[in-house]
């Protein structure tokens, strides 16, 4: 145990996710060290930190996408609504229905725009056309894509621009009304305009969804998030209100990072 970061837990009245003593190993090499923190409900939480510090690894824990990696070993717990998500009795499919995810590289399915949006519903067994169409429209509107695609819903999603694709992925994630949306550097491949679009979207969704966003862009973190966690070499260095963390960082490492002295 490198250091005790229990002090990083800040008082959060209504938390949705509680991370307790989370250690993660890829084979023998440890990637996450003893993480302890709570994530507030219906707020935007940003994860920042230098490349390779374990941000992606951490958010993949929340929807158990790490199960797909054979060598992963996890101890500790992540509580979602008072239920340890690593418990054997948890159905990972149910879990993932509750947690949407947006990837760094947009990955729409090679299907029509419409089919992309309602994919989650379809596999959940929804077949009524009106329900599906309604859901598609609502989610596309929520993700600010509706106006651009409403006339070509049945065209292939492959014809969209990169920014549109990423918003489509967000629409796809929110179409199943998840409790949490995980975003792993959703804007890293986008131009400033598209980035602005998505940031606006995140602010829009704030208050309605719990959003955990990984970003390398400090401005972005400060613009969209309520809380920020700073990870460094697999450890949680500092976690607090975004405004505080960016203005009066407690830890030297945090200050160095946000002022651009490393990473």
């Amino acid at each position: 145990m490198k250091n005790d970061n229990r002090n990083a837990i800040i008082a959060i009245e209504d938390s949705i996710v509680q991370v307790r003593d989370l250690n993660l190993f890829y084979g023998t090499s440890q990637a996450l060290f003893n993480l302890n923190f709570d994530i507030p409900r219906n707020k935007v939480t940003a994860l920042i930190g230098p490349s390779g510090c374990g941000k992606s690894t951490f958010i993949r824990c929340i929807n158990r996408m790490n199960d797909l990696v054979d060598s992963v070993n996890i101890n500790g717990s992540i509580q979602l609504d008072q239920q340890d998500i690593f418990d054997k009795s948890v159905d990972v499919i149910d879990l993932r229905r509750k947690i949407g995810m947006v990837f760094q590289k947009s990955n729409p399915f090679p299907k029509s725009i419409y089919e992309n949006v309602i994919y989650g519903l379809r596999i959940g067994g929804v077949t009524e056309k009106p329900v599906l169409e309604e859901a598609a429209e609502v989610s596309l509107k929520r993700s600010a894509l509706w106006d651009e695609v409403k006339d070509r819903l049945h065209d292939s999603a492959m014809g969209l621009s990169g920014g549109q694709m990423q918003r489509l992925c967000i629409a796809r994630a929110i179409a199943v009304s998840p409790d949490i949306i995980l975003m792993d550097e959703p804007c890293s491949a986008l131009d400033p305009r598209s980035t602005a679009h998505i940031e606006e979207l995140i602010r829009e969704l704030n208050g309605e969804y719990t959003i955990i966003i990984v970003t390398h862009n400090m401005q972005q973190a400060s613009r969209v998030s309520d809380l920020t966690a700073f990870l460094y070499e697999g450890e949680l260095i500092e976690f607090g209100k975004t405004t505080d963390l960016f203005t009066v960082p407690v830890k030297k490492a945090t200050e160095d990072y946000i002022t651009g002295r490393f990473g």
Partner: protein, 733 residues
């Protein structure tokens, strides 16, 4: 230095460009060259017949009774009406001294007929002479060849003591070694027909004894205008001025078998087609048809004359019909001097010469030379029609062959007898190719694709690493080994355990469904629930094995209980389905074994190459692995899977060895999975060793190759087009 590097790079770029271009062009050129080569061999099948007038100096002064040409087209022989036989070279010289065949020097020949190499000459005093004329090459001491005529008097028959005077007389020698003898058939002026038969029998002590019989067929009420006698002297046909065709069986006392009043016209000429199975009939309006005895139903044993082929009509009454002695072609000419050569089976009009007037004509025995006596003298023609029996219809359509009860798609290239007519219908071969491919793909596609999906999407990594190379090793098993195994081991095994196999198709899925229920129920047990994903599929293996074993042990009971102890027998008796030991089930297994690795390997690659982002997106949305595989991975990999399937299909279409060994190679057209078939590729392999170069069979086999080429070309082009569309549809960024 930088400039130098740049130059070098440019040079290598160019070099690579040229090498690659040359390689590509060479590939295309060699494919085209192969195609051109095989097309060139098969093309002469469809070339129209050609002919060429041969110059000669032969002049005839006397009226002729017979004219003929030898096989080498070097000698012409004539018998004039006084009975003088002369042989001329093309320069007009007599090569042997003329032979006087007559005895009574005042007599004239009034009628001639021919049976094989024997000419029967009927004299106006009622006598009949039979003379055999043939030619034989002779080599002298210097090695130069000359053609020598062989003239043999076969018999002299005195005039009949009683009866009305003769109009026509026919003579035939039996070829049946057990019943040697001769037959003479006469048409009298009073319209009656007399038959004289001499049978030669040998007693136990070696004494040769001749028995003579004679019969008279009383005058028919219509005038008999033409007669024809089969070469064996057993069947007699007559045509009347009233348009009726009569048929007697005269192997014993004459029996009138058929009376066909089908012609609205007087029948003016009859002629037996080579082989003496079919009869050609010419009428006064110039129509030319061929007739054959056909059983009118499967049960009946008697045959009735039916019109089988209609050949090109003449524009005036048909005067004479002469068979080719090489194939089923017929030489016929009309009153206005139209000379036709038609092929009966293909109904092709090979030649159509307008010669003004024809008094005599003859084809030589090889069918390559034609001689005709016209108002302007002797006409000699060299014919070139190597494939008269081939037409589009005989290759692809139903053809009514001799000895068949109906038109059929038949492939039969050879048989023991000399006058056998080869049958070249490619349709059953195309059918067999398609059938074999379909059954093989039905078996191989699901297995290969499901296997690929399992290995790429579900199997634990170390299992993946075992399965994939193993399956790929399967691809390197030579097809002759597969053919050998399935033909000699699997085929007999399946034959004895057919019911077990069929039960498998029932019981294995049942066991599987049962297993699914158990599995679902078993989820509440910790051990099962926590089983590492990917391994649950391995549990299915014992289930399938269990199903197979169950079928195996239950089958004797089922067979006894429901199928009277013998399933194939039962099947035959109740639905008339026959069971060949080498059938499509065997082929499905064999071809399947050979194409599964191909399809599997390509599909597996395609599936593995689906970007993991897509899988992750689907899984993160709460899709199960199966849903992900089915809805996201499979469609995205579909172009690759499709390509793999098509390569497998192409392989199955062209695969030869397995088919050759494991089917009976019977060219039948039957969808039954219990029967074999003959495919284009196997057909080529089976027949080519026996096909004389440039013969019809040889060229038809090359045509098969062209078709095979065409089929694979169409499959591949179609596949490429579809794959392109799929690729566009499921394009990945």
């Amino acid at each position: 230095m930088n400039k130098k590097l740049l130059k070098r790079n440019k040079f290598y770029d160019k070099l690579a460009h040229y090498v690659i271009t040359i390689g590509g062009v060479a590939v295309i050129l060699s494919v085209v060259a192969i195609l051109v080569l095989i097309v060139r061999v098969s093309l002469p099948l469809f070339q129209p017949p050609t002919s060429e007038i041969v110059d000669h100096k032969i002049t005839v002064t006397e009226p002729l009774a017979v004219i003929g040409l030898d096989d080498y087209q070097e000698n012409v022989f004539t018998i004039d009406q006084k009975g003088v036989l002369s042989v001329f070279s093309l320069q007009g010289q007599e090569t042997v001294p003329p032979v006087d065949l007559g005895i009574n020097h005042d007599a004239h020949i009034i009628f001639t007929s021919r049976s094989r190499t024997e000419y029967s000459l009927l004299w106006d005093d009622g006598r009949l002479s039979v003379v055999g004329i043939s030619f034989r090459p002779v080599f002298n001491a210097e090695g130069t060849r000359s053609i020598e005529p062989q003239i043999a008097m076969q018999g002299e028959y005195a005039s009949l003591p009683t009866g009305s005077p003769l109009l026509q007389s026919f003579f035939a020698t039996s070829v049946d070694e057990d019943a040697p003898g001769t037959v003479r058939v006469n048409l009298h002026q009073d319209n009656s027909v007399s038959i004289f038969r001499t049978s030669i029998s040998e007693s136990l002590f070696g004494d040769v004894e001749e028995t003579d019989e004679s019969f008279v067929i009383p005058a028919y009420f219509e005038t008999i205008s033409a007669l024809a006698l089969s070469e064996d002297g057993r069947q007699l046909y007559a045509g009347t001025g009233g348009g009726t065709l009569l048929h007697w069986d005269i192997s014993a006392a004459p029996v009138l078998e058929d009376t066909v009043p089908a012609f609205k016209q007087p029948i003016t000429a009859l002629g037996m087609v080579f082989g003496s199975q079919s009869l050609a009939v010419g009428t006064a309006d110039g129509s030319l048809t061929t007739w054959m005895g056909v059983r009118d139903s499967d049960q009946s044993t008697t045959k009735k004359l039916r019109r089988i082929h209609t050949l090109t009509s003449h524009d005036s009454p048909v005067v004479a019909i002469l068979p080719s002695r090489r194939d089923k072609s017929l030489l016929s000419w009309s009153a206005k001097g139209e000379l036709h050569l038609d092929h009966m089976t293909s109904e092709r009009n090979l030649y159509n010469f307008a010669l003004g007037s024809v008094s005599l004509a003859s084809l030589n025995d090889r069918g390559k030379g034609l001689i005709a006596l016209t108002a302007t003298g002797v006409q000699l023609l060299k014919l070139h029609n190597p494939h008269p029996e081939v037409s589009f219809k005989t290759l692809f359509g139903k053809v009514w062959y001799e000895n068949y009860d109906s038109p059929e798609y038949a492939w039969q290239s050879s048989s023991g007898s000399d006058d056998f007519e080869p049958k070249f219908s490619i349709t059953p071969l195309l059918f067999g190719t398609i059938k074999g491919t379909i059954y093989a793909m039905l078996f191989a596609l699901p297995l290969a694709i499901f296997g690929a999906v399992y290995v790429s999407q579900f199997a634990p990594p170390h299992l993946q690493q075992i399965i994939k190379p193993t399956v790929e090793v399967m691809a390197s098993v030579p097809s002759v080994v597969i053919g050998f195994l399935i033909a000699l081991m699997l085929a007999p095994f399946i034959e004895t355990h057919l019911v077990a196999l069929i039960l498998c198709f029932l019981l294995v899925p049942l066991c599987f469904v049962g297993f699914l229920f158990l599995w679902h129920y078993g989820q509440r047990f910790k051990a099962i629930h926590e089983m590492k994903s990917g391994f649950e599929f391995l549990l299915v293996l014992p289930v399938i094995l269990g199903g197979v074993l169950l079928s195996y042990y239950v089958s004797p009971f089922v067979e006894n209980q429901f199928f009277a102890g013998n399933f194939t027998q039962y099947m035959f008796e109740n639905i008339g389905a026959t069971y060949d030991q080498r059938n499509c089930i065997i082929i499905a297994f064999g071809l399947g074994f050979c194409v599964i690795p191909l399809i599997f390997s390509i599909s597996e690659d395609a599936l593995s190459n689906v970007p993991s982002g897509l899988r992750h997106a689907s899984l993160a949305l709460g899709a199960s692995r199966w849903q992900t595989a089915w809805r996201v991975v499979l469609p995205s990999a579909s172009p690759g899977i499709f390509a793999g399937s098509m390569i497998g299909l192409g392989r199955a279409v062209g695969e030869t060895m397995i088919i050759l060994m494991a089917t009976g190679n019977t060219p039948i057209m039957d969808w039954s999975i219990f029967n074999g078939m003959r495919t284009l590729s196997a057909n080529i392999a089976v027949e080519i060793p026996e096909a004389p170069v440039d013969g019809t069979l040889y060229r038809v086999l090359f045509l098969c190759a062209v078709l095979l080429f065409g089929m694979t070309f169409i499959v591949n082009t179609g596949a490429e087009l579809i794959r392109d569309r799929l690729r566009k549809k499921y394009a990945q960024y």
